[in-house]
């Protein structure tokens, strides 16, 4: 091994390499994802900056549409909900999303995926997705999936960029960022406007839409050990079917404002971190119904909801390296409340602590042990809860093989949006799982197989309590899941690669125990030919109940006019045959009626970006 190291160091300092190729290699090896990713924290998927740029990733859903096991989906109000279980209003509370070190959350849903699952990616450097009950190191509450978005920084992005994108449906997006640094301080600022236009759908004689208008500002100010971030968003648009299941709205819309202020500080050679975060959001929903429409429930003409929510999170973590042990201890506190302008005002304090030990048994074998405990103190006579999470991991690696095994047992406390919407007592969901990932790497290829088995109890289901009302209750059924994935990546060279993926999803329904089975396939090619970056992707989703097989083919071409000016052309779902989703719209005459619409619509985009 020493000889190999010596050879490689000699190669690195060999001056036979030209300065151009040295710079290209350096740029590739300086990808920030190399510094932030943690392979021991879960089953990791990384989209590097190079991937995001060459794939022309406009929003997070562009990469989540091919997410392993769970393709991107939205709920009936057109908000991101990747674990969607219509008519449940939101099922993705265990999917947690971070911007740098800050978890983006809404107090009501308990997870920010609801608001940020389709966020534009123009200020994001790279994305890390940790599947399979990842490390407790990440946050206050447990998670099945953690999505970490890392913003661009002044370290690499001194200077600025303006970008404009339009599409064939009249959508438009404009954004600008600028970053600079002095010897002591650096900053990054970003502003965006997105006008998202989508098709409208006729259903029960009404016209349903899901257009959105979004304005966002993000700014960060950093010194060597401290960082302050401000993130503000204003969004309004159509809410598709709305939340009331028995009527189709003639008008449905929402309007929301979001603000996050956070700090991240590091002390004692980065071994001690303190994160503070404050979130504020206010949201209004308005649904109008035509009571004379025979397909509608005749006694409700409109519904209005107003929510004001706040949360504060503090997190203190300390890491020690003791011989072969890396021990991390964290204490975290989160307070959240929301006011819905009714008697259902609610607040909740969460006290959370975890300890994690990474034990390097030798140079090939690592063991990881983690325990996390939360205490939920709730207002207004709602029951206090406590939850426990356990995680055991074993990792083997050598030059070619990596094997990761994770066993976990987790409890998830029902979110406020469920607790406040039921008269039944909801029990904590319990998830027990074992996940095995094995990968084999050669100079040009990576092959991977993932097997996962899970047992779930007390999953929430929607149960009719009278002819016109459903409420969430805990399913009495213990359900099983069995998932498997095969993945293969071939790097022809540094700029050309082929990815092939196939995965199988099997989950018993918490309603009736029937198996829900689907298959997802991905074929992706990234090529660079002269000044053209070419992206080809085919996503196939098969076996979804009552839905046709989806074939979503996308093609993108990015042309480098010069180093500072690029023109982008991209088609999404080009053959308009991608995965559709069905939403329940029961009527008196047809209780099984559904609305079936594409998850991702066909569209063709033209964009330009200029660096200055």
């Amino acid at each position: 091994m020493k000889a190999l190291l010596l050879i490689l160091i000699c190669i690195s300092f060999s001056y036979s390499e030209g300065i151009d190729s040295l710079l290209t290699d350096y740029e590739k090896e300086s990808e920030l994802s190399n510094k932030t990713k943690d392979e021991s924290a879960g089953n990791l998927i990384v989209y590097t900056r190079d991937d995001l740029e060459r794939m022309q990733v406009e929003t997070l859903k562009d990469i989540l549409k091919s997410f392993r096991f769970f393709p991107y989906a939205e709920n009936r109000t057109s908000h991101p909900d990747i674990l969607s279980q219509d008519p449940l209003s939101y099922a993705s509370k265990s999917v947690r999303i971070y911007l740098n070190e800050t978890e983006l959350i809404t107090s009501i849903t308990g997870s920010g995926f609801f608001l940020f699952g389709d966020m534009e990616m123009d200020f994001i450097d790279h994305v890390e997705i940790y599947e399979g009950f990842p490390s407790f190191d990440f946050g206050v509450e447990p998670a099945t999936t953690v999505i970490r978005l890392y913003s661009k920084t002044a370290e690499h992005d001194e200077g600025g960029r303006v970008k404009v994108t339009i599409d064939n449906k009249g959508a438009n997006k404009q954004n600008v960022y600028y970053a600079d640094k002095t010897d002591d301080i650096s900053y990054f600022m970003y502003a965006n406007h997105t006008g998202k236009k989508q098709d409208t759908y006729e259903h029960h004689g009404e016209t349903l839409g899901r257009d959105k208008e979004t304005n966002r500002f993000y700014g960060s100010l950093s010194t060597q050990n401290h960082n302050v971030e401000l993130h503000a968003m204003k969004q309004n648009g159509d809410a598709l079917l709305g939340s009331f299941i028995l009527s189709t709205p003639k008008n449905s819309n929402f309007d929301m404002s979001y603000l996050n202020l956070s700090t991240n500080s590091k002390f004692l050679n980065d071994s001690l971190t303190l994160n503070l975060s404050y979130n504020y959001a206010d949201t209004t929903y308005n649904y109008d119904y035509n009571t004379s429409n025979p397909e509608n429930y005749p006694f409700i003409s409109s519904l209005d909801y107003i929510f004001t929510e706040e949360s504060f999170t503090s997190s203190l973590k300390k890491e020690w390296e003791l011989d072969s042990h890396t021990i991390t201890v964290g204490a975290q506190y989160r307070y959240k409340d929301f006011d819905s302008g009714s008697a259902k005002d609610y607040n909740e304090a969460i006290y959370s602590a975890f300890i994690e030990d990474l034990i390097a048994l030798n140079n090939k074998n690592v063991l990881t042990l983690s325990v996390m405990k939360q205490l939920y103190k709730r207002s207004n006579n709602y029951k206090d809860e406590d939850a426990l999470q356990l995680r055991l991991g074993y990792i083997y690696s050598d030059k070619e093989w990596v094997s990761k095994t994770f066993l976990s047992s987790q409890e998830f406390i029902p979110g406020p949006y469920l607790v406040l919407d039921t008269s039944s007592e909801l029990k904590p969901e319990t998830y027990k799982s074992i996940i095995q990932e094995t990968s084999y790497q050669t100079e040009k290829t990576i092959s991977k197989i993932i097997l996962a088995y899970g047992l779930y109890e007390n999953m929430p289901i929607m149960v009719p309590i009278n002819p016109v009302q459903l409420e969430p209750q805990s399913s009495s059924r213990e359900v099983k899941s069995l998932n498997a994935a095969l993945e293969f990546t071939l790097h022809f060279n540094t700029k050309d690669k082929l990815e092939l993926q196939a995965n199988y999803f099997n989950l018993e329904s918490p309603y009736n125990g029937e198996e829900i089975i689907h298959y997802n396939y991905l074929l992706r090619m990234l090529n660079t030919i002269s000044k053209f970056d070419i992206y080809n992707e085919l996503v196939i989703n098969d076996g979804f109940t009552n839905l046709d097989t989806g074939y979503n083919y996308s093609l993108g071409v990015k042309y480098e006019v010069n180093k500072d000016f690029h023109i982008n052309l991209k088609g999404d779902n080009i053959f308009d045959s991608g995965l559709e989703w069905d939403y329940k719209t029961p009527t008196m005459t047809n209780p099984q009626d559904t609305l079936v619409i594409p998850v991702i619509e066909q569209r063709f985009m033209l964009g330009m970006e200029y660096l200055f």
Binding site: I9, S12, L22, E39, I395
Partner: protein, 136 residues
């Protein structure tokens, strides 16, 4: 954590050492400027990549012993350093007219930039492979 990463991605990390690559680029630039195989460099306020992987560079602790000064800041440059060749590690260092060139990150990519006039002042002629990194 360092141990773990080493265990997990030994091969990758060998190639992925961006510090080593950065130092390799500094080595090549310094060699081009000084025309020496083993130049002496003074690192003003430290350059982590060169300190970790000096390669063919000899790091000296006083400006007077150096063939070239590499800057991490243009603040508080010792007077005796100003008589030597100065090379920057950020774009803004080029605002100092004594700095002949810089290797820096900007617009999401690493860049090298020399000013011809400043090279001429010091009678430095770079290899033609550097032509695209020289501005008037």
């Amino acid at each position: 954590m360092i141990k773990l990463l080493l265990v997990l991605f030994l091969v990758t990390s060998i190639y992925a050492s961006d510090s080593k690559k950065a130092s390799g680029i500094f080595n090549l630039i310094v060699k081009e400027i000084t025309k020496k195989e083993n130049s002496s460099v003074y690192l003003h306020k430290g350059i982590e990549s060169i300190e970790k992987y000096p390669g063919n560079l000899k790091i000296v602790t006083e400006c007077k012993d150096a063939d070239i000064i590499i800057l991490s800041t243009t603040r508080d440059i010792p007077k005796e350093c100003n008589k030597k060749l100065l090379f920057g590690s950020r774009y803004s260092h080029l605002k100092n007219p004594n700095v002949i060139g810089a290797f820096f990150w900007q617009k999401g990519r690493p860049n090298i930039l020399f000013y011809q006039k400043r090279l001429n002042t010091h009678h430095i002629k770079l290899d033609s492979s550097f032509n695209r990194y020289i501005e008037e």
